[in-house]
Each structure stands twice: as C-alpha cells, then as structure tokens.
Assembly symmetry: C2
Homo-oligomer: 283 residues x 2
Amino acid sequence: MRVGLIGLGAMGEPMAHNLASTGLLYAVWNRTPEKAWVVAQELNVLQADSPSQLAEWCDVVITCVSADKDVLEVIWALIPGLGPGKIVVDTSTVSSATAITASKMLEDHGANFLDAPVSGGVEGAKNAMLAMMVGGDEDVLERARQVLEQVSARIVLMGPVGSGQGTKAVNQVMAAGINQAVTEALAFAHELNLPMDKVIDVISGGAAGNWFLEHRGPSMTHAQFNPGFKLELHHKDLTICKRMAEEKGLQLPLTEQTIKDYQVLMNEGFGQEDISALYRLKP
Amino acid sequence: MRVGLIGLGAMGEPMAHNLASTGLLYAVWNRTPEKAWVVAQELNVLQADSPSQLAEWCDVVITCVSADKDVLEVIWALIPGLGPGKIVVDTSTVSSATAITASKMLEDHGANFLDAPVSGGVEGAKNAMLAMMVGGDEDVLERARQVLEQVSARIVLMGPVGSGQGTKAVNQVMAAGINQAVTEALAFAHELNLPMDKVIDVISGGAAGNWFLEHRGPSMTHAQFNPGFKLELHHKDLTICKRMAEEKGLQLPLTEQTIKDYQVLMNEGFGQEDISALYRLKP
C-alpha cells in the first residue's frame, strides 16, 4: 500500500516520519515546495509536483493542513488523480460541514473520505501516540487502519463523515477549559510561594492530573511558550465551536472567556505562541 | 514498625486495608467505634479504646478525618500516648494553619508531624496509587516513607509543615476548574448527539486527556453521581482556597464559579453526591 502525505507542518512532518519509518510513505506534497523537497530527501520518498500526481501514485492520501478553505482546495486539486478504491484521510481540524462537503466531492469520483482529526500535540505526532477521532464508513476505516496505526495510539470511529470533526470540536472546548483550570491553579501556587516543579509533579499523579499540566506546566512556569499548539489556531477553532454551540442554544462560558483572553494575547503579538501563554494573563 | 490509623472513612478504610496487607497496620480507632470494630475484625488488627492508647501502641499514627476541628481534636487526644520519636502523619485536607498548629502541639511532647494530604480519589486509595503532598522535615519523612509507600504511588516533599496543605489547596482549585472544563465540553458533545462513551474514550487519549474525564466521565454521562469525592467537602475546601487567594489579592474565577454552582446543588439536596454532579447544571 502506497501512502501520500500533504501538508508538512508541525503535525504533518512528524507523521511523515512515522509513516516513512515503516516503509508506507511513498510521496509528499506541500504548498511550499522547498519544504517538501527537504522532507522527501530526508525520508527518501518522492516529491509530487501536484496533489493530483500524488493521488495518482498513492492508495491512501493523508492531508494535514490548517483551515477549511485549505482542505477544500487540496481536495479539489487531488480529484484528477483519484479513482475508485482510493482513500483520502483528512487529519486537519476543520468544521463538520467542510468534512461533509469534501466527502461529497470525492464520492462522485468513486474515492472514499474519512475525517480524522487528531489530538496529542506535537509530542503525540512525534511519538505516534495521537488520538484519532474518525468520521466515515467502518469498512473504509478498516482498509486504512494499518496506515493510521502508524501515527495514532487510539483510533475511534465516532459515526458518519463529520462526526470526527464534531468530536474534535468537543476536544478543543475541553482543552480551553483545562488551560483556564491549570493556569488559574498554577498562578495560585505561585502566590503561595510553592516550589512549582514539585507542585506540577505531585498534582499530575492525583485526581486533578491532566496531559496539559504534565506537558505544558513545566515550560509555562519557566515563561517558555514555544508551540506546541499555536494560540491563534486554537482561537480560530474555539470561534467555530462557539458558533456551533450557539446554533444549539448552548452557552460555553469557559470557551467564550478563552476566546477573549486569546484575543488580548493576539493583540499583544503572542498569537504564534503555545496556548499555555494564557499563563501570561494570570497575575 | 507499628502503624495506627485514625479515621476509617471513604479514604481511610482502603488505606487501612493496604497497610494491613503488608503487615504494618497494628491498630485502628474511629469516632464511631462500631466501624472500627468491623474493620479491626476484618483486618485482624487491634481496636484502640482511645487515640492515646493507639499512640502508646504505635510508632507512626496516620490520621484521616474531614475538618480542621477534627484534626486538632484528634491531635489533642493523641498527646498523652505520644513521646519522642513517634510520628503523626495527617492525610486529611485542612488548612496550612491547622497543620502548623498541630505540629507545634506535638513538638512540645517530642513527637514529629507531617501534613500529608493526598489526591487520587477513592480509586487511588484502594489501589495504593495516591499522590501525597508532604510538608515537614526531610528526615521525618524518610523515617515514615516505608509506611507511606504502602498507600501512595508518588510522595513529594513540598517544604516545611503546612506546605503539603498549601499544595493540596492548589490541587483542589485545579480540580474545580477541570470539573468545569469537562462538564462544559461533555454537555457540548451531548448537544452534538455524539456517542458519549466514545467521546470520553478518544479525548482521554489526547492533549485534553485528564483523570477526571477518564474516571468520572462515564458515570456522569449515565447520570450516576455516587461519591467519589463529596461535593460538599470540595465546597468547603474551595471556600478556604478562595479566602487564601483573597489574602494574596488574587482572584480565582473558576473556583468562585464552582463554589456558587455547588451551593445551588447543595440547596437542591445533592451535597452528598460526587463533585461530577456539577453535570446536573449543564443544560
């Protein structure tokens, strides 16, 4: 089975490494071709001239881009090279509506689609420990599973196309709340003059333990905010989540607060930092 | 080494089991003697007539009670049986000031004190997987460590007496925020008609993963709120945390919101339920 990967950003590049290490990766394409050239050389795989060439060469195409518009552009560009039996797996975080549109675009050409956004941070991408939330048909997932297992530790089929993205929206809302919870508590610890590294260590082992505390607590309390997960991307996701909730008549107070806080940080020029830069606003 | 345990509640009883299983537990005492009788029979240990008798018999006395007043009463009652070299380890969640007072009361009789509150829930107590936040002298901790390792997976010395309780206060603040984060996100998932068990499973594996989601998510989404950790006890702790923060001029918005929400639930008669009953308030 030949796998192609489109989008060699913070998440896509380590996924490419993991796919290459098992010999599954056949080719890559990236909007900035120089980046694709470097990765192709490094991993000893082909660099496609276009998404459609990649689609011609490969059985499974994984896309990993940033925004709804990018996903639809890439799908459009893939189509000339696609045909029956080929599978496109989009690991980007976009709306359920975009996933459904992408799936319909491919259906007409006999190809299959899975929306398969991931969580687990850059660490999870590097260690192939991502959690993958999949929307689509079970038999399509089964055909692609061997490939997806090279990048994910947990793959869960949530329902039809779009439900992977719905689940990712829930994940982003929870991540926002946890960011608020962890930064509030660590600011309190700081005020109490407690040894911060020890606080993070011991609390991580108990009932308030969480991934974010363990992986971002040490850096944020040392005023290091390298991404990780860029604050302005989380801001974009949360704005979509807020709208989705409003359509259902539901309020998301922590998400709304986080959107406001991130906006303050973006205005101050911190949009490219990790989401843990929220700690900057905690007195 | 002989160990005595005072307070056979939701956390104390499983700790007694773990200490008995390694032969370290010598005697128990409980405010309700019938409870102590049952546990003593079951574990084949002695039932002391009074805290002071337990203190006479044992080298290390572990206390596990509910409130500041209870800790000081028990310490007072222990004193006639204590002497040089004996160690009292209080695993209750109380204020740093109470810990310091308790330590001073014991100092005059040559005994040593550690404040050693724990986190990890009833599950952690049962599986001896608690995280223990210790305040006191390093050499006292080293003398008691063998005992404490029978109930804890992670033991961290935070600083002088009182700093264990300070750290526990931070833990309780973080737990409040995480409760808000998890219940807000799961209510959103419910509105999106996602399969809740799968949502909990997959999100637990990613960057929004946390102990509370994994251990309380399944029960709360099935409207089961058996404690666990009683809501009214967390309310009590958070009220103390809020006061501590105010003394430092710090605001804890999630803690303040949680105090209000718990008060609503307590007024409705849900104070004895697990803290995850916060999900009742999420539309």
